[in-house]
Amino acid sequence: MLSLYDGALDVPVILKNWYEEEATNNYGAYIPFVGTVRSEDGIDGLSFDIYEPILNSWFSSWQEKAKAKGAVIKMAHSRGDVMLHESSYIASVFSPKRRVALEFIDEFVEDFKASAPIWKYDLLNGKRVYALDRSTAIKGSGILGEKK
């Protein structure tokens, strides 16, 4: 399950809803990863653009991988502005056993950072500044720049 929200996430409510949704499905381990906006470099917050069609297919391929191991993934992300100390991202793995969940949450979060079509901007003095230096080119990038 992938949910997008305008602005900051209501973390306690999302964590509670997901926990309750899976309460009787016999998962022994539930590991949420919560990402919160840090005060750094004088920013007022962050802002996000999301390209949903490719995000959805990327997420579906991970859900398939999870399913093959008997696990389930849930993810929530913010669109638009999220201010300091608010949260913009939650990824969760439910699985029967702890090792699968511990390994999956790590792999999922790292691939999310490298591949999910989401763009981050710093909010600085009322301006939206693309965070190029913290961004990662998606695997296979650059083909249009190849000279004949």
Binding site: Y51, P53, K113, P117, Y121, S135, S141, G145, K148
Partner: protein, 73 residues
Amino acid sequence: MIRVEFLGPIQKPSLELDIQNLSELAAVLQQDDEMSEWLTNCAVAVNDTLVSSLEVPLKDGDKVSLLPPVCGG
């Protein structure tokens, strides 16, 4: 016609181009000075599927998207 979309921070309106493949798109965009930096770090999707080669044929109505470096979370 092929529709070319520029996602995220690329501040550029969509284009409608009469091209047959991604190599032709590369040739067109390489003429555009403001695109030069993006071309080296953007991924390319055809009809919302990422592709890793310019040898992709395009047909009328296809959509090509340019995805600059990402940073979710």
